[in-house]
């Protein structure tokens, strides 16, 4: 039952990063590449029409996590207090940027909200990557100092960074060079994803240019991937033990790689949808591979006093998880229906849709 909910939450999270990921990425592209007003407008629209229904996936992932793994939720949310609240603020700035830019028709107003949208998207993506990096690397559970826990064994509190910026040792900070690398990977990945979305959904004048940008970013992603895999052993002594034990798990890195190599063919694709599908594979593969390499741990402990948090020692009761299964199935089935209805009615390029207000 724990495994079932773990899988479901992973799926919801992956969907969130595919969906909201493209509008984060759209923001980053908007910040760096959109120059003409007309492009800025359609690109903002390519995100603006969809962000709020995409963000619901975050709310759902949060709710499900709370229900199924309350101890993990409590530990992680209070432990990463400051970064999380700052993420919230960026979420708000991004949203108001999108909603407000087209409200008044003078340049300074638009510039302010464009920047608010773009910069927040960039920093949010970086922070989400850093968060993933932290979860993979682990934290000093229990706040151990000289072999003594300062808190209960499953709580922690990290400084934003420590003086050495190093992921090694018992006392890492939120930001160190490893988590920054993961953050940059996230930024590159979502930029590719966002660019693909713009190409798919708009007729902006920079679409052709974006295709070559995607190509270059993909080379960067390949290099970063090789780099991060080669240093993985620093944060986890036997990084591939899970994969070696159950080779079936190799399917996740394969998904990642097929997305990555698929993206190199972007210029040849007749249908822009394929490119978008490839970058979605990168996202899904990336998240699932990281989770698979840790399983069943969901938050490693960097000290030897307190044990890591796993899906088993943080889960809610068996009864709770099984009743949730009942309504969960109904809920997910409904979701699928909405999704299909929505996609059928809202397909096509956004340039021609008139936006409510």
């Amino acid at each position: 039952m724990e495994l079932f909910w773990y899988t479901m939450i992973a799926i919801v999270l992956a969907v969130f990063f595919i969906l909201d990921g493209y509008d984060f990425g759209t923001g980053i592209i908007h910040l760096f590449f959109a120059k003409k007003e007309k492009d800025k407008e359609v690109i903002a629209k390519a995100a603006g029409l969809f962000w709020d229904s995409n963000e619901v996936w975050l709310v759902a992932a949060g709710g499900l996590l709370f229900m199924a793994f309350p101890t993990f939720y409590a530990s992680v949310f209070s432990g990463f207090y400051l970064p999380l609240i700052i993420v919230l603020w960026f979420i708000i700035f991004r949203a108001i940027g999108l909603e407000l830019r087209s409200q008044f028709n003078f340049q300074m107003w638009k510039d302010i909200w464009d920047k608010s949208f773009g910069v927040s998207s960039l920093l949010l993506t970086l922070f989400f990557g850093i968060a993933l990096g932290n979860v993979v690397r682990g934290v000093n559970l229990g706040g151990v100092e000289n072999g003594v826990s300062a808190y209960e064994a499953h709580y922690f509190f990290l400084p934003l960074w420590n003086s050495s910026f190093s992921p090694e040792g018992t006392h890492p900070g939120v930001i160190d060079w490893f988590t920054i690398v993961i953050g940059i990977i996230a930024v590159v990945t979502l930029s590719i994803h966002g660019a693909n979305w713009i190409i798919l959904k708009t007729e902006s004048s920079i679409n052709e240019k974006l295709k070559s940008v995607v190509f270059k970013l993909n080379i960067a992603l390949l290099l970063l991937t090789i780099f991060s895999v080669s240093i993985w052993h620093i944060i986890k002594p036997q990084p591939f033990s899970n994969f070696i034990e159950s080779p079936l798990l190799f399917i996740f890195p394969m998904i990642y790689l097929s997305g990555l190599f698929g993206t190199f063919l972007v210029k040849k694709f007749k249908k822009d949808v394929y490119a978008f599908a490839c970058s979605s594979l990168i996202i899904v593969g990336g998240i699932t591979s990281s989770l698979a390499s840790m399983f069943p741990v969901i938050l490693p402990s960097t000290n030897s006093v307190n044990e890591s948090l796993t899906i088993y020692n943080t889960a809610a009761s068996e009864y709770g998880l099984s009743v949730a299964l009942g309504w969960g199935i109904v809920g997910f089935a409904l979701l699928l229906v909405y999704f299909i209805v929505q996609k059928r009615l809202m397909g096509g390029k956004v340039d021609k849709m008139d936006y409510g207000h």
């Binding site: 709710g63 939720y73 949310f77 603020w89 709580y155 909405y338």
Partner: protein, 443 residues
């Protein structure tokens, strides 16, 4: 420890109060939009359709604000109330996760379709999407109240040795006797807010002699909805809630009614007066004997325990705030019935649209339902103190063990600043939409 809990509570109170400004309008408004759209299907008069679309624009702005201020609420359970989340997450996580899965998705998916899809879908389907938006927003009210009701009156649980609460009976969460009265009261109260807003916009147009056709329509609809919902908020639902508080939280009841001393037989109802915590009495009291006992138990002489029957630990920690909040809510509720009743009378006599004084009154009345709603929640939440889960878990024992008060103070200030900006922008947007008015051209 003391200032930690203080900042945690202050931040939660501030962010939830701000959040609740938006859902109360969207929940009520969605019902009225469904009504307008339904009228359009029946009458084929273009103005009903335009009214529905106009209010959906206002709805959309509020919805966005609801989303961006709601995500911090969900996060705060973990960030600021980690111990509470850890211990009770297995129970209230159920209702919160259901809210996400069943209502937010419904609402947000079909909102987009309502706004963009009219031409694609045809009128019947367009009505249906509007109806689903309404369903989603009321369902989210239902699930969040199921969550809150469990905190007010915990049911279907068992406490393990390590202090964790585990769910033992899922359906008990929904048959909680606290839930249905609270849900109905809260939903009708949100209809009060939306009808006052609709009526105020109508009054504004009529007084300015602009968009007259819509001004009259909004006024008429707002007044009728406003009168009916104001009545329903008081009886039966308000009364029903009060009986529940008397039954399940007698200490909170004594404090909100301002009964310091238990009377031999039959408690009086305090209409006006200021609680004096030093001398333990109500100053400048105006009260009617025996009424409270009658209202609560239909028995003029039934004894109702006063605050003297409880120890300091059992009583809410901020009695004056609780008392004032309750009296403001009930007082405003009475005024709403009066105002809307009067307006309805003049509407019926066909004089409303020329009664300028009354129209000014209606135009400036719209903030008060917001105040009534928020003070109502203060009654519920302050009355629950000093417990987080009534009778079981103290609020102090729910906070995050690792977050220091300095951090919370910093984020609280951040929220205050950001929300001020957000509130300002929100007003500008809504103002602009109202100023522009409904689209009059037909397609």
């Amino acid at each position: 420890m003391d200032d930690m809990i203080f900042y945690d509570r202050l931040q939660f109170a501030f962010t939830i109060t701000f959040h609740y400004i938006f859902p109360q309008l969207t929940m009520g408004l969605s019902l009225m939009i469904v009504y307008f759209k339904w009228k359009y299907l029946r009458t084929k008069l273009e103005r009903y359709n335009n009214a529905a679309k106009f209010f959906m624009k206002i709805f959309a702005i509020n919805f966005t604000m609801g989303v961006v201020t709601g995500i911090p609420m969900e996060f705060q359970f973990g960030t600021n109330w980690a111990k509470f989340s850890e211990l009770t997450g297995g129970i209230i996580g159920q209702t919160l996760a259901m809210e996400g899965l069943f209502s937010f998705f419904l609402e947000s998916s079909f909102l987009a379709l309502f706004i963009f899809g009219e031409k694609l879908m045809g009128q019947k389907l367009h009505f249906l999407t509007g109806f689903l938006v309404f369903l989603g927003s009321w369902a989210s009210g239902y699930f969040i109240l199921a969550t809150n009701s469990w905190m007010q009156n915990p049911v279907g649980y068992e406490i393990l040795e390590n202090g964790k609460y585990v769910l033992t009976n899922f359906s008990a969460l929904f048959s909680n006797p606290w839930l249905i009265p609270a849900f109905l009261h809260n939903q009708f109260a949100s209809v009060v807010t939306s009808s006052f807003v609709v009526a105020a916009i109508g009054a504004f147009y009529v007084l300015r002699n602009k968009n007259l056709e819509y001004g009259k329509l909004f006024l008429k609809t707002g007044v009728i909805f406003g009168f009916v919902s104001s009545m329903l908020v008081a009886v039966p639902t308000g009364d029903w809630n009060a009986k529940n508080v008397a039954k399940f939280q007698p200490a909170a009841f004594a404090a909100m009614e301002g009964i310091f001393e238990t009377e031999e037989a039959g408690a009086e109802i305090v209409l006006i007066g200021q609680p004096n915590m030093v001398e333990k009495k109500i100053d400048n009291k105006i009260a009617v004997p025996n009424i409270l006992s009658f209202l609560t138990y239909q028995d003029w002489n039934k004894q109702i325990p006063g605050m003297d029957q409880f120890t300091k630990e059992e009583l809410p920690d901020n009695i004056p705030a609780l008392y004032y909040s309750y009296h403001i809510m009930v007082g405003l509720g009475t005024i709403f019935i009066g105002l809307m009743g009067l307006a309805l009378l003049f509407l019926w006599r066909r004089k409303l649209y020329t009664m300028n004084t009354l129209l000014w009154g209606i135009m400036f009345a719209f903030p008060f339902p917001y105040i009534a709603n928020i003070t109502g929640w203060y009654v519920a939440e302050l009355g629950r103190q000093p417990y987080l889960v009534y009778g079981l878990l103290k609020t102090v024992d729910g906070i995050s063990p690792t977050v220091s008060s300095g951090n919370t103070l910093f984020t609280l200030l951040g929220f205050v600043g950001l929300y001020m900006l957000l509130g300002l922008l929100f007003l500008v947007l809504v103002g602009k939409t109202i100023h522009k008015g409904p689209e009059t051209q037909t397609h």
